[in-house]
């Protein structure tokens, strides 16, 4: 809990004024609330002993004034707390997002996208946001209210105060015990629900098997048993819940009974007034709410604490990229790329994803990267782009260590497509240009479209380049996605082009056209392409064959074929696959 509060503190500090206002309003509201019963006491006492109409009116107006005061303080406090909740949600999410997008590829290996999204969406908005302000500050206000009420009670009539406060410890203990039982029952219920959920999902996804084997009845029989289990759990929970709520909402009746009995006797003996008796009824009710808020604070605080830890894990992650040791801002073009014994460790263990890779590629060359699934091809490309810092060996660009180059400028010279072509919500134009407004002309865009073999496809889209694509737009075919990614990569005429399986959804002819156009438009570009196409591989200037992270073979097509090793196997198999046409599932 303390850790959570410490974590939240810097965020509160940013809004010091508003937080102070909230606290002040809390104190004012507590004071007003504690004063109200005093007015009632005055009126009731006055009525029982004939007061003047003016006195009555005076107190009635005071009640109205106090009511108005409470309206203003509570409404303002509530509004401000809500604003702070939302503001903190905004700021926390912004901070986390800004940090996460600078992380290296190792980070994204460690955390799946689904996990990251849950932490940045649900954990923040559902668990942390309410607690961040309301949770804590309602607790503070509750403490004030409790203090004010108890203070007033003791001041007015200590004996009555005792009547009200005496049952409280017992109520508290009993409610904690019931609360624990209830959590246990909740867990059981949750498990029953999860089982049902799994059952239904299995049933629906396997409905073909169930119907084919005529086993519908046995499914229903099993379902009956499971729903019966959920039913039992729900009923137990409902019963326990009502008992639990009694401790909060109804336990006041013990205090009231004590008040009537002891207090009534005192009034009869003239040692207390009727007004006090009635006023203390109201105090008894006043004490319950704050106690609830206090216990809520503990519960939501624990849940928020778990989420805060999860979010903090993201914020404290560090990227392996060491930036800014050098600042070789270069007007030079990249003419040479060299790996010397480069390697990258697996972030989730000790094995190496790639190990001891050495090769040299020069401008104008087209390098094919081949190998089985998991042999390290994508990792190689991501190293070339410095998406992760290599753990061993070195990488040289134009003869200098890549770490001496300014990262941003380096990446501006490189075009990249990822293995799963990334399409973002927006227009086609947005997806290709990607907000690179400076120095991008319509001409360049047109050229990129033509080279990527996308120009001829534009008529298929209702609004051409302005068609909205992505999750809320038109769905693109696999081949179209890849071509958009290629156009994106080629747009600024990069010196280096890294293509990760960027042509697999194209047919052989389109791919052929692409490579020819590419060579014509970008004769000096250095291209590293992960590919499976036989023709693309055999026409490359250099072929790198990866096997389990190591560079098994490298060279030209003819010489590798003659060697009769891994390359020959891969190449011939690929040719066969292509020969068979629409491949049988292999």
């Amino acid at each position: 809990m303390i850790a959570s509060l410490k974590w939240l503190y810097p965020y509160w500090r940013r809004h010091a004024v508003r937080m102070a206002v909230i606290v002040a309003l809390g104190m004012a509201s507590a004071a007003l609330q504690a004063y109200n019963p005093v007015l009632i006491k005055n009126i009731v006492n006055g009525l029982s002993s004939s007061l003047t109409p003016e006195y009555l009116r005076h107190n009635v107006l005071l009640i109205l004034a106090v009511g108005l005061g409470m309206f203003i303080t509570n409404a303002t406090a509530m509004r401000n707390r809500a604003i702070m909740n939302m503001k903190l949600e905004w700021e926390i999410r912004r901070d986390v997002f800004d940090h996460v997008i600078t992380m290296d590829r190792n980070f994204f290996h460690k955390f799946t996208t689904g996990d990251l999204v849950t932490r940045m969406a649900d954990d923040i908005s559902e668990k942390i946001s309410w607690f961040a302000c309301s949770g804590v500050f309602r607790f503070i206000q509750a403490v004030f209210t409790l203090a004010a009420a108890v203070g007033m009670m003791l001041y007015i009539n200590p004996l009555f105060a005792l009547c009200v406060l005496l049952p409280l410890p017992f109520v508290l203990v009993l409610s904690i015990m019931t609360g624990r039982l209830l959590s246990g029952k909740y867990k059981e219920l949750q498990e029953a629900i999860t089982e049902l959920f799994d059952f239904l999902e299995t049933c629906f996804t396997g409905v073909r098997v169930i119907k084919a084997n005529a086993k519908e009845e046995s499914q229903l029989a099993f379902f009956e048993a499971k729903t019966a289990a959920q039913r039992e759990a729900e009923v137990s929970v409902a019963k326990l819940q009502i008992i639990f709520s009694y401790f909060w909402h109804e336990a006041g009746f013990v205090s009231t009974a004590l008040l009537f009995a002891a207090g009534g006797l005192l009034v009869i003996n003239g040692r207390a007034t009727l007004g006090e008796l009635i006023a203390f009824q109201f105090y008894a009710n006043m004490v319950v709410g704050p106690l609830m808020d206090i216990s809520q604070f503990v519960v939501t605080g624990n849940r928020a604490g778990v989420s805060i830890k999860r979010v903090n894990e993201l914020l404290t992650a560090r990227s392996s990229l060491k930036l800014g040791t050098g600042d070789k801002t270069t007007p030079d073009h990249i003419t040479e790329l060299e790996f010397r014994g480069a390697g990258l460790k697996n972030p989730k263990g000790d094995a190496m994803l790639v190990h001891g890779v050495s090769f040299k590629a020069a401008r104008g060359q087209r390098v094919a990267v081949v190998g089985k699934i998991g042999s390290g091809k994508s990792t190689l490309l991501s190293l070339a782009l410095r998406l992760s810092e290599h753990d061993e060996g070195s990488m040289l660009v134009n003869g200098c260590d890549v770490r001496e180059w300014n990262l941003r400028l380096f990446r501006e010279r490189v075009g990249y497509t990822s293995q799963e072509a990334a399409i973002f919500s927006g227009t086609l134009r947005d997806n290709i240009v990607m907000d690179r407004k400076f120095g991008v002309t319509d001409e360049m865009l047109q050229k990129a479209l033509e080279t990527a073999q996308l120009a001829g496809e534009l008529h298929k889209f209702p609004k051409g380049l302005d068609t909205v694509v992505g999750t809320r737009g038109v769905a693109l075919s696999g081949g179209q996605k890849q071509r958009v990614a290629i156009a994106r990569a080629l747009l600024t005429c990069p010196d280096v082009l890294l293509l990760d399986d960027a042509t697999s959804a194209m047919d052989a002819q389109t791919e052929d056209h692409f490579w020819k156009a590419f060579r014509k438009e970008h004769p000096d570009a250095l291209c590293l392409a992960v590919t499976h196409r036989a023709r693309t591989i055999e026409t490359s200037d250099l072929i790198l064959v990866l096997d389990e992270g190591r560079l098994a073979e490298q060279g030209g097509h003819a010489e590798l074929l003659a060697r009769g090793g891994l390359y020959k196997q891969i190449y011939e198999r690929q040719k066969l696959v292509e020969e068979i046409g629409p491949k049988p599932e292999v």
Binding site: R79, V207, R208, N213, T227, F253, G264, S382, S418, P584
Partner: protein, 590 residues
């Protein structure tokens, strides 16, 4: 998770009549238990309404009379009444929970039974998550309606009637003065609900955009970093955050105003009661006890106002849920039993496809073109071909999941369409290796959750398949967690194969899956498949070399047509598609 994919087109009109008929029917089925609960509620509410009267008695009678006995009697009455109230309230909640749960469980079973009777078309057009939502979360919404909303509304109406009745009895003027406040509050509540409900919808929509945006950006993070787009992503996130903040703040403002106004009514009404009531007391027309009693009753009556907007929202959601459920219950399967079904006891001669043409829709292309083959009893046929080429469709036709348009499918010479679906599917079995396992034990999964199958049959099956060793390592009473996440892919495949033996049908359709696994499990699977092929008439959609080699004959389907059909040696000699595939798969060693 609050935001379920309702899967409902927001423009789709809700059929209130059908939904209401469904809901009404559900309640009427159990009118006695619900009536008993209402009874408990009425008694409890009446008891709780007695408390202000007891208070008045204390103030006006016991105290002025200075009678400790009267006072303590009143306190005793107060304690008694309260304890009784707590008991009746508890009884009411428990009763409602039971009645409500019974109703809902009944509905869930009805829904699942109906869904299982529908065609595969229904399943292919609806995502599993949505189906789940219908059976679980839509029914939960209705549960809240029955156990909470309806009874609370009845409770509130009763409370108003009795409270005002008593107040009128004691002082008509004051009661009349207070009466109009409540309809006004009711209107306010209704206005609040209708103004803010579209705003809440909008807030939920924007809130749902956040995970969508994050997923998209993080999935493409490599590309974003490669092109140096971090700053842009950051500003897009900022813009989304801002939109969410603004929308939520707007709704919240209405909320604050509405709720605080209602809260403010307490001091206002206190002031009003003391103001007017006080004057009446001074004029001797009223007693202090009555004034306090009015105050207490008013306190009771404010709670329902707070709950009003919540009730409205539950009612709205219940009608949506009821509408969706009614819609499903109204669906009818297209493929039904023939008029005079022929019962299939066993397959004696074999299965024959003759010139079968099939397409899914009138205007779609043919999925099967002139497919013909014979499967004599006891033999096996391996089907190969690319995805979407027609392999699965052939087997779907055999189970009559879909109908064919031209040609003949016959079992022992009888047209498939004349056979009863039940007997057909009991004679032919389907084994799919890519499946989830049910929550239960391995033993139960081997029986496909059919408890009428004796354990001995399972043990026999395991022995016949030579899987004793395997199941010693993976015990039969092991509990399956999370649809089989605690078992490896290989293990799941073995279980689905063993299941085929347990279910003991003569004819088997086996839909193989591809994956790499350890040689140990691979051997178990290969042996199991070989045993199945030996003991039964089998059609297998094959992916393994061993499976293909074990089959008597092989059929290659591509583009809906039978390209090659024959034994392994015949096809190899032909040097066509199959031989190429074979060489590719099994290289020089073959």
């Amino acid at each position: 998770m609050d935001d379920h994919d309702d899967g409902q087109d927001p423009k789709e009109k809700i059929n209130y009549k059908a939904a209401f008929r469904l809901l009404y029917g559900l309640v009427m089925e159990r009118k006695t238990p619900f009536a008993v609960a209402a009874g408990y509620m009425a008694v409890g509410t009446l008891l709780s309404l007695m408390i202000p009267v007891i208070t008045k008695y204390v103030i006006d009678t016991a105290l002025p009379a200075m009678s400790p006995r009267a006072l303590l009697t009143a306190v005793g009455a107060y304690l008694g009444v309260t304890l009784l109230y707590l008991c009746f309230n508890y009884l009411q909640v428990a009763q409602l929970a039971r009645a409500g749960q019974d109703t809902i469980v009944e509905l869930k079973r009805r829904l699942l039974r109906h869904m299982l009777s529908l065609d595969l078309d229904f399943y292919s057009s609806t995502p599993v998550g949505r189906l789940n939502a219908r059976v679980q979360s839509d029914t939960s919404t209705l549960y809240a309606l029955f156990t909470n909303t309806v009874i609370t509304i009845l409770n509130d109406v009763l409370m108003f009637a009795v409270a005002f009745g008593v107040m009128f009895f004691y002082n008509r003027h004051l009661a009349l003065m207070l009466l109009p406040v409540f309809p006004v509050l009711g209107l306010m509540g209704w206005a609040y609900a209708s103004v803010t409900s579209p705003m809440f919808v909008r807030v939920r929509k924007i809130a749902a955009e956040v995970p969508g945006f994050l997923t998209e950006q993080l999935n493409g993070i490599g590309v974003l970093q490669a092109f140096g787009r971090e700053a842009d992503a950051s500003s897009k996130m900022e813009e989304l955050n801002k939109r969410k903040f603004t929308a939520e703040m707007r709704v919240e403002l209405y909320g604050v105003i509405f709720f605080m106004t209602i809260v403010a009514l307490q001091p206002i009404s206190t002031a009003a009661i003391f103001g007017f009531g006080g004057r009446l007391v001074l004029e001797g027309k009223m007693t202090v006890g009555v004034v306090v009693m009015f105050l207490l009753y008013l306190g009771y009556l404010f709670e329902p106002i707070f709950r009003l907007s919540e009730h409205l929202s539950v009612i709205q959601r219940s009608f949506s849920a009821g509408h969706r459920i009614a819609k499903i219950l109204a669906l009818r399967p297209a493929l039904t039993e023939p008029e005079k079904p022929h019962h299939l006891a066993s397959v004696r001669e074999g299965i024959e496809f003759r010139n079968v043409w099939m397409r899914y829709k009138e205007d779609a292309g043919w999925v099967l073109k002139d497919v013909s083959f014979r499967l004599p009893r006891g033999s096996s046929l391996a089907i190969l071909g690319e995805t979407g080429g027609g392999k699965t469709t052939v087997t779907s036709l055999l189970f009559r999941f879909y109908d064919y348009q031209k040609g003949h499918i016959e079992i022992d010479g009888t047209d498939l369409r004349k056979l009863s679906l039940g007997s057909l599917r009991q004679a032919i079995g389907l084994v799919q290796q890519d499946i989830y396992l049910f929550p239960g034990t391995v033993m139960q999964n081997l029986k496909l959750m059919d408890d009428t199958i004796p354990d001995s049959r399972v043990h026999d099956a395991i022995r016949t398949m030579g899987l004793d060793h395997f199941f010693k390592k993976h015990p039969l009473d092991k509990k399956v967690k999370e649809k089989g996440a605690n078992l490896s892919i290989g293990e799941k495949q073995v279980i689905s194969l063993a299941r085929a033996m347990v279910l003991d049908q003569e004819v088997l359709v086996l839909d193989e899956a591809t994956s790499n696994m350890d040689p140990h499990t691979e051997r178990a699977i290969t042996g199991a498949i070989r045993t199945l092929i030996r003991h039964k008439t089998v059609i297998v959609i094959a992916h393994r070399l061993s499976t293909v080699r074990s089959a008597d004959r092989i059929m290659m389907i591509s583009g809906g047509e039978v390209k090659e059909l024959g034994t392994h040696d015949e096809l190899l000699a032909q040097g066509g598609l199959y031989s190429k595939y074979y060489r590719l798969q099994f290289g020089e060693g073959a």
